[in-house]
Each structure stands twice: as C-alpha cells, then as structure tokens.
C-alpha cells in the first residue's frame, strides 16, 4: 500500500511539470515581404516572421531533435495573358533563426544550435537542432531574406496587363522536426 501511494504521487508530479500530451512539433507562420519595385540593380528584401515559431518537445525522453527546412522555387503563377510562370532560384531565399527563448519550465537553450544566413534549398537542411535535454517549448522569430537579381521578372498579372492584380512570387516552406 505504501508503494502504491508513492507511485501515484510520482505520476501526479509528472503531469504537473509537463504538458499532458507528449509531442515533438514545430509550428511556423506565413511570411510576406513588402512589395518590391525593380530598379535594375540587385535588391535585398528582409522580413521577419510576423509571429514566433514554436518548437515543442514534450516526449520526456531528452532525446535530440532537429528542425529542418526546405522551400519550393519561388514562382509567380501564370496569368490569363502573361502565360509563362516566372521563377526565381530558391537559393535566393535565406533564413536566420535569431535568438531562441525557452518557455517557462523548459530546459535551458544551452544545447540548441541554430543557423544564420542559411541559403534555402528544395532539399531539407537543418535550421535548428538540439543535442538532447531540451524538453519544453521554445520560441524563435526567423528572419527571411529574399535576394532579387537585377534581371528578375516582375510578378505576372493575373489578367489584363496593367489593370489586374499581380500574382505574388510564392514559395512553400516546409518545416519538419524529428
């Protein structure tokens, strides 16, 4: 009977310190750059994520984790008149993780490594990683840089040239954690 009591106390303590669901997740947000007008010179557009991205590790294993990122080729979709999709190399996108903060009760960020100025690719690359012992929730606000070559095509018009909306250059960023 005494053993049972101790066990129950241990479980209650566990639930109180950690979220009830054991997960390893990363949550990202959309990125939108300010409109850029071509000027004949290379340009650099920098923007930060509007909201922090979140890494959650409540597996209670203290196992390592790695956040990876990949992106599709930035493309301005064809319109009804301008029918050729326009693309820019995905390598024109880069990301800097910036400072990572630990949520209340999370392990310190000591074991977390981040990247700065990572040139994106269609293949996953490590954005941030933990060598272990990083249970909890962590926040960071990545900064994205979009390098626009001087010879970029402008965004396609969705319909009539000059009088319809422009099709943004769009890239899908996939962030994984494992």
């Amino acid at each position: 009977m005494l053993t049972v009591v101790i066990g129950v106390l241990a479980l209650a303590d566990l639930v109180g310190r950690r979220p009830a669901e054991a997960v390893l997740t990363v949550v990202a947000t959309d990125i939108t750059w300010p409109e850029v007008t071509l000027n004949g010179d290379p340009q650099v557009s920098v923007t930060a994520a509007p909201l922090p991205w979140t890494i959650t590790d409540t597996r209670l294993t203290d196992a390592p984790w790695t956040v990876s990122i990949s992106a599709t080729t930035p493309t301005s979709a064809a319109g009804s008149v301008e029918t050729a999709p326009r693309t820019l190399s995905v390598s024109n996108l880069s990301v800097t993780v910036g400072p990572v903060t630990a949520d209340v009760g999370a392990d310190p960020i000591t074991n977390i490594t981040t990247t700065s100025g990572l040139t994106l690719s269609t293949a996953p690359q490590t954005l941030a990683s933990s060598i272990g012992d990083n249970t909890g929730i962590y926040f960071f606000t990545p900064t994205f840089t979009f390098n626009l070559p001087a010879n970029s095509y402008r965004s396609n018009y969705s319909g009539a040239v000059g009088s319809s909306s422009l099709n943004d250059y769009s890239s899908t960023i996939t962030v994984t954690i494992a």
Binding site: V4, A22, V36, G40, N151, Y153, R154, S155, V175
Partner: protein, 188 residues
C-alpha cells in the same frame, strides 16, 4: 500495483508523436520599374585648322547607363539625336558657323552588364553611326536585357578642310565660341 504504474508510464512514451511537418508559404509582390538612360557629355580638344579634313574623337566623360527594371524581358532601344554643331555669333563675327550634324559619328563601344543583369548577348550597338537631328538607335535590345548596362561611347567629329573656325565671342581676338551640339538620349 507497482507493476501497473510502470506499464502506464511506458505507454505514455509510446504515444509520443515522433515528428511533425509544417508547410507555410512565403509571398512577395514584385513590380516593374521604368526604363531609364543616363549620359554624360563629350568634350573635344581644341583643334587648329590645317587645310585638310581632320577627325577628332572624344569619349563620354563617364559611362552611360541604360536600365531596364520593367521585369518583362521586352525589347528596348536607346536612341540619340544631335543638333547641328554651331559656333555662335559674336559681337563682331555675328554669323553663326555650322558644320553638318552628319560629321558627328557615334560609336557605342562595349557594353557591360551590371551585377545580376541579363547577359549582353541580345544587345547591339553602333559603330561610326553618322548622327542626325532625328533619333537613331545606338543600342538596341532584342529582348531579355533586364537590369542595368553601362557603356562609354565615342563621338568622332570630322572637321572639313573648308570649315570655318570658331567665332570670337568679342571682337576678333580672345575667347572663341566653341562649336557645340546638344545630344538628346532617349530609351524606349
């Protein structure tokens, strides 16, 4: 009882999600700018008439630039026209002296693409194009010349053997009124 508690903890670990993926989009609107061209003037060395036809040349003071930030890849052309080279009348030599505008010849020279600009493959310049008061193309792009290009043109000025010297500004000595021509550059 102790055994059952242990089993519960193991079950919790197995339920843990091993990994997740999150896909988001990044978006940017890129708009086109306007064609532009910039140039600098030519200054010829003072020349003394010798009784025979002479040709003098001058390079632009600095590189000219043609910029296509429209982001369309459409063709464009830089044109120039020139007014008739004229030495203005002075207070004594009151007759303006002129030399035919066709005695000015324009050579575009080598074009250099700016960083990140399309290659110069589709650009065509001119060599010794006799200038006119009408606009003529001196650098044309057949398409896909997006970005900025620089070139330092040369103008050759053929001074006929029978040319009038420059008029004196005042009296018959002192400062001379140089032959001048206004060159107009456009890009379309």
């Amino acid at each position: 009882m102790t055994t059952r508690i242990g089993a519960l903890i193991i079950g919790l670990f197995i339920a843990a999600t091993p990994s997740t993926a999150w896909a988001q989009s990044v978006n940017s609107t890129i708009t086109g700018g306007s064609l532009s061209v910039a140039g600098t003037s030519f200054t010829f060395a003072n020349t003394e008439l010798t009784g025979v036809t002479q040709t003098i040349s001058a390079n632009a003071g600095s590189a000219w630039s043609a910029t296509d930030p429209r982001g369309t890849g459409a063709a464009w052309s830089v044109t120039v026209s020139a007014t008739t080279p004229t030495s203005a009348g002075g207070d004594t030599e009151t007759t303006p002296r002129t030399i035919a505008v066709g005695n000015l010849a324009f050579t575009t020279n080598t074009q250099t693409a700016g960083s990140g600009s399309d290659a110069t493959t589709n650009l065509t310049g001119q060599t010794s194009l006799a200038m006119s008061t009408s606009a003529q193309s001196v650098l044309s792009c057949s398409g896909a010349c997006k970005g900025k290009y620089t070139f330092t043109p040369t103008v050759a000025f053929t001074v006929p053997a029978n040319a009038y010297r420059s008029n004196y500004a005042t009296g018959t000595s002192g400062a001379l009124n140089p032959y001048t021509s206004t060159i107009t550059i456009t890009i379309v």
